[in-house]
Amino acid sequence: MAESGGGGSALGPLEAEVMAVLWQADGPVSVREVAERLNARRAAALAYTTVMTVLSRLAGKGILIREQQGRGFVYTPAVADTAEIAVRGVLAEFGDAALARFVERVELDPRLRARLRKLMGASS
């Protein structure tokens, strides 16, 4: 699915390298750790800020989950493989035009979540 111009759903080369590092990691990793692991296998070292930019862009696309840890952020993959990234890209970019999706992904308000829980308990 490495189609360019297919709507930006595919990863760029640097993004793919970063995702490879995150998929190999056991748990959440910091920007510094990602930069170290990337640079261990690269001829030309990447700047810390470059890695940080790529990570925050991936988090913005919903491919990574970003959490505060101490003074910095740590990242974990939100997707399991590139097919999933492609699916998300398609749904996010073209989602509402000609599709009837069961439900959009949203950050549910706690009150709505509580109401749904209550409905799940209701026998009908």
Binding site: A92, E104, L116, M120
Partner: protein
């Protein structure tokens, strides 16, 4: 009152089907008049009228294409995905789809992202992901499939796209966009009612909770924080639908003002066209 509302909703389609060719025809007339107008001798209101009609027709075509193009791209992208990551329908799903009579219309995509969509304009199909199948129990899966079957039978992808292209065509008429959004919400609520009748409230609520409550991409969350979930949950609870009449009147006012301006320009354009035809004879 409800009957009146739904009649007004049905009236929107023939009106639109009539209005679009008339508007486009006037747009062509306006462009032709541009070529014949004597710029120095013409009245300012004539120039304004011709510009408004020609400009609105061009803006409308651009607006419609801006909706139709991503829709076509999305459908193609989905088909490509299905070719690369499609997989045989698991037995647990096949048992449910056969019972619902939709086994021929369901595809399964191998991906962890949990989703279900109905897609395709002429021959709609349902697409499920393996992530969804793993996340839901049988009752919830049935609820999702009955919901999507309702979209499939009513050809909702076609209806939704037609309404959205129309709203894109008349993007300077705010009521059209509101109408398209209401139509989308009404289709979802109807599909939810079908699912509730078949499987009960608890399964629909469970599927909504499991599939909606996931971290959303920032871009999506910013535009529409809760989507249509508040209305759908209210329906499951048996509450009457939320009325937003105030907003509708406001949009209707803006729409009427724009339509009045456009009609005045169109009448002036038609008058000019008749005068020109008379001058040629």
């Amino acid at each position: 009152m409800t009957a009146l509302r739904s009649r007004a909703g049905w009236l929107a389609w023939p009106l639109a089907v009539l209005a679009v060719p008339v508007h486009l025809g006037l747009g062509v007339l306006a462009v032709l008049e541009y070529a014949r107008l004597d710029w120095l001798a013409s009245e300012p209101y004539e120039l304004t009228a011709v510009t408004v009609v020609a400009g609105s027709a061009v803006a409308a075509i651009v607006g419609a294409l801006r909706v139709a193009r991503p829709a076509a791209q999305g459908t193609r992208a989905l088909r490509r995905l299905l070719r690369s990551a499609g997989q045989p329908v698991p037995a647990s799903v096949a048992a449910v789809t056969e019972e619902l009579g939709i086994a021929r219309y369901v595809d399964v995509l191998a991906t962890a992202e949990a989703f279900a969509v109905t897609h395709g304009l002429r021959r709609p199909r349902i697409l499920l992901s393996t992530g969804l199948v793993e996340a839901l129990d049988t009752a919830e899966l049935t609820a999702v499939l009955v919901h999507e079957r309702h979209h499939l039978r009513r050809r909702d992808p076609l209806r939704l796209l037609a309404a959205r292209v129309l709203a894109g065509y008349g993007w300077y008429l705010p009521l059209l966009r509101w109408w398209a959004a209401r139509l989308a919400l009404r289709r979802e609520l109807a599909a939810d009612r079908a699912a509730t009748t078949h499987t009960g409230v608890a399964a629909v609520a469970g599927a909504l909770l499991k599939l909606a409550d996931l971290p959303a991409p920032a871009a999506v969350a910013a535009v529409n924080p809760m989507g249509n979930l508040p209305d759908r949950i209210a329906q499951l609870e048996g509450q009457p639908p939320v009325r937003r009449a105030g907003l509708a009147w406001l949009l209707a006012g803006a729409t009427l003002a724009n339509l009045a301006g456009l009609s005045a320009a169109a009448i002036c354009c038609t008058g000019l066209g008749v005068a020109m035809a008379g001058g040629m004879a």
